[in-house]
């Protein structure tokens, strides 16, 4: 019981707390022994986002994206955008599939997409995270044109919605990992993006994002401004007889090659890709500490570093910075 003393009197704070209103002012209680029917779900994958694609909302979002999101992205996490030329001649709808490290990934990608895609793109967002309440669903539907997507599987409802939207000419931004990386290394790609590409015939554009984990990684408590890099790859389409699983494998390999390109250069990355030596996105298959170690210290660049083992290394590194 919480009490405060005011002069000679004691005030019981618990008594000041509003009590829950009784029925019918408040919600009814349920009698025992009665099956409580499941309420019609209007959150999660059942959240209806149709309103966010109507013309007035799109206009409002375009103003928001151009007037707020993009300036903030360029001010806080200025992107170095690479590979846009590969999208020349490509017309919507397109599926952009990227690695995922941060909540900043989506505003970053939307800010860097060419204009013809930018204002007619929906973002596949985790139904259980971004749409678990109606107000969150409303916020993300408006700000990012997010649509709810099951993260662990291709559910019929979310897949149908995405396919329908692609059929209507909307491009899709999707993170095949299903969530942000927990340790800095990419998680295995799910097949959803490739499945949608095979189902709808829309080209699949691999995208690699770097730098956002350092700015606002999973569990980060504050934003750390700094440069980022967005690398677009060559559009992929399913070959004759190619199924979604194989296309998903190709996609993952392409994103890994883009990551390699970001760490080294395009030519080296292509050579390693041709030789099948592209470092895997998922990192080394080793003990957790070695995987973390392999990421290198969190610095202003995402360049992979091996641990500095002695004064000679430190001196060499200092000289390189100079």
């Amino acid at each position: 019981m919480r009490r405060i003393r005011i002069g000679e009197r004691t005030l019981d704070l618990d008594r000041l707390r509003p009590r829950p209103a009784s029925f019918p002012w408040g919600s009814p209680t349920h009698p025992g022994g009665v099956d409580v029917p499941e309420e019609e779900r209007r959150t999660g994958v059942d959240y209806d986002t149709a309103w966010s694609r109507r013309y007035p909302t799109r206009v409002a979002r375009a103003f928001f994206l151009e007037g707020v999101t993009r300036p903030l992205v360029h001010a806080v996490i200025p992107p170095n955008v690479v590979g846009l030329d590969l999208l020349d001649g490509l017309e919507p709808p397109v599926i952009f599939a990227a690695n995922h490290a941060s909540h900043l990934d989506t505003p970053l990608v939307l800010s860097t997409l060419p204009r013809r895609f930018r204002h007619r793109a929906v973002v596949a967002a985790a139904a259980d995270y971004f749409f678990d309440t109606r107000w969150k669903g409303a916020v993300w539907s408006f700000a990012l044109a997010a649509i709810p997507m099951e993260r662990t599987r291709v559910s019929r409802r979310s897949a149908d919605l995405a396919a329908e939207l692609i059929g209507d000419g909307w491009s899709l931004v999707i993170y095949p990992e299903g969530g942000r990386t927990p340790d800095g290394w990419a998680q295995p790609f799910h097949g959803g993006a490739a499945y949608l590409s095979v189902r709808t015939g829309a080209p699949l554009v691999p995208v690699h994002i770097a730098g956002t984990r350092r700015a606002l990684g999973r569990g980060a408590r504050r934003l750390r401004p700094g440069p980022t890099r967005v690398t677009f790859g060559r559009p992929l389409t399913a070959g004759p007889g190619e199924d979604a699983r194989r296309l998903a494998g190709r996609l993952e390999a392409e994103v890994a090659a883009l990551a390699d390109e970001g760490r080294t250069d395009w030519w080296q990355a292509r050579q390693r890709a041709a030789a099948g030596h592209t470092p895997p996105l998922a990192g080394p298959d080793a003990a957790p500490w070695r995987r973390t170690w392999a990421l290198g210290p969190a610095t202003d660049t995402e360049r992979r570093r091996w641990p500095e083992l002695g004064r000679a290394d430190a001196e060499r590194s200092r000289r390189r910075r100079d």
Binding site: P24, P31, V34, P37
Partner: protein, 528 residues
């Protein structure tokens, strides 16, 4: 999701307050822990294509040739239809009667039938007004028949248009509408709201005269109908069946079209009235609070107009046509499919909230006699097997029971209330001493035939309707009623449900078992 069946809830501490109708309003009442609440089944899915289903049954009737085969040029065709007392509340357009009659008329036109007359099967009910006829039949039918005098309303006091067909084995006169009885084909269009409706009762009651009706609309029949909703234990049913068979033997060819409806009773804005309280959404609660507080501040007349302008979204769940008894067997199954709820055993006390409407006050006032008829007649008899309340138990009804009458629709009710009930409330005594004088009063007959008045004898029938309940119950208590009107009815008045339950203990003892009938929407208790 398929509709959930009705069920019996046992009230516990976490059960929210229970919605009870209270005339042109509703209340939330807390029932004691351990009380039972009988909830109606959810509305069945309506037929997707009612017009298609109607056309189909007209050509594929049961135990009868198709309608088109019964129609021929030069024949006399009469189409009788249920009056304004069905369905309740009046349904949204298009009314079922309109849809069926248009289909029948299409078939008649195709067969070259010229001599067609429509008859509203009023029995001793009031004549329908033009807007009511237009609502039931649609403008096309009304405008095609009414201007030529071919849309008629049965007149049970017109000696020139009645025909005596004979006397049943039980000595019952059968006197019917002459036009209907002498037609080559009588098509009857019915709406079955409760299990009592339809079957031979349609023609044998709806198109009969007082001379004929008095054989089953009497105290003895009602005391032997337990209940009159249960065909196998209803003397009312048996009497009508005897008459119906005599009608058939007399050569009257009846093509019966019966329909059943679901219990989707109230429009969307009042949907909370059909929901179980613990499933009320925030919108339902806002709807309840807003409407109940607004209604409390609304004058009686306006409140009545609001409720009587309500049009029910009820949907057609089945339609069947052909021979009367075969059709009615199917109809009854469909009524039970929608309304039956199994209840285990009787209780000491039965509570019910009475709504603003009963079959006899459409667009009018629910006067105290109709309150008695709705509670002790209709709702008490909504059982199969045994009544929900034990012999000598207590019935508690919630209704304002105003001392108010509609002088146009219910003139004889006023005198019945002022003169007859002031003397006695015993149905047998009332029947013996007063019925004849009211039934033959020329002024009431004049008002019935030329105005929109119920027949002079009608309030007696309303009282007889409750005779079984009066005989069965130890006490009737009305919650929130006009004390003077309630006293005149011979009942006790209580200001709150808690008071009424206390008063009931005087009759049935302490800690009585209580059952609440959560209707409308309508249900029928199958008491084991």
């Amino acid at each position: 999701m398929s509709p959930r069946p009705g069920f019996v809830l046992e009230v516990d501490r976490s059960t929210p307050a229970t919605l009870m109708w209270h005339g042109e309003g509703y209340r939330l009442e807390r029932l004691p822990t351990g009380a039972r609440v009988v909830y109606p089944p959810e509305p069945l899915e309506p037929l997707a294509d009612p017009r298609g289903a109607i056309r189909h049954v007209l050509e594929n009737p049961v135990d009868s040739a198709p309608l088109s085969a019964l129609l021929r040029p030069g024949m006399r065709l009469t189409i009788a239809f249920d009056d304004v007392s069905l369905p309740l509340p009046p349904m949204r357009r298009p009314d079922i009667r309109q849809q069926i009659i248009e289909a029948v008329l299409d078939a008649a036109a195709a067969a070259g039938v010229d001599d067609v007359v429509l008859v509203a099967a009023l029995a001793l009910h009031r004549r329908m007004t033009e807007p009511e006829l237009r609502h039931a039949l649609g403008n096309r039918v009304y405008d095609s028949f009414a201007p030529h005098g071919l849309l008629t309303q049965h007149d049970a006091e017109d000696p020139d248009n009645l025909i005596h067909l004979g006397v049943t084995d039980a000595g019952e006169d059968v006197e019917l509408n002459k036009r209907a009885a002498t037609s080559d084909l009588l098509v009857y269009v019915n709406i079955n709201l409760v299990a009592m409706d339809g079957g031979h009762k349609s023609v044998a009651t709806g198109l009969a005269s007082y001379r004929s009706l008095r054989h089953h609309h009497n105290v003895r029949t009602m005391l032997h109908s337990r209940s009159f909703m249960d065909q196998h234990r209803s003397e009312l049913h048996s009497s009508n069946w005897r008459m119906g068979r005599l009608i058939a033997e007399s050569g009257v060819k009846v093509f019966q079209i019966e329909t059943t409806v679901n219990t989707d009773t109230f429009p969307e804005q009042f949907s909370f009235l059909s929901k179980r309280e613990w499933e009320w959404s925030a919108r339902d609660r806002v709807g309840f609070l807003a409407t109940s507080s607004a209604l409390a501040r609304t004058p009686d007349r306006v409140r009545r107009q609001i409720f009587h302008s309500m049009r029910s979204p009820i949907g057609l769940t089945s339609v069947q046509a052909g021979e009367v008894e075969a059709v009615h067997a199917l109809t009854t199954e469909n009524v039970y499919r929608q309304q039956l709820v199994e209840v285990d055993g009787q209780s000491d006390v039965l509570t019910m909230g009475l709504p603003y409407i009963c079959p006899y006050n459409v667009n009018s006032i629910m006067n105290p006699i109709l309150v008695m008829c709705l509670g002790l007649g209709y709702f008490f008899n909504l059982y199969r097997g045994r009544p929900l309340v034990r012999q000598g138990g207590v019935l508690i009804m919630s209704h304002p029971t105003p001392w108010a009458f509609d002088p146009v629709f219910h003139p004889s009710y006023i005198d019945f209330f002022e003169q007859v009930l002031a003397e006695t409330t015993d149905p047998l005594e009332i029947e013996a001493k007063y019925e004849q004088s009211f039934a033959t009063d020329p002024w009431y007959i004049h008002l019935y035939r030329t105005g929109h008045a119920y027949h002079g004898v009608h309030p007696f029938y309303m009282w007889y309707w409750g005779a079984h309940a009066l005989d069965h119950l130890g006490r009737v208590i009305v919650v929130g009623g006009d004390p003077a009107a309630v006293r005149r009815l011979g009942f006790k008045s209580a200001s709150s449900m808690a008071d009424a339950l206390e008063m009931a203990e005087d009759v049935v003892g302490r800690d009585p078992s209580i059952t609440h009938l959560h209707a409308p929407p309508l249900l029928m208790a199958d008491v084991r």
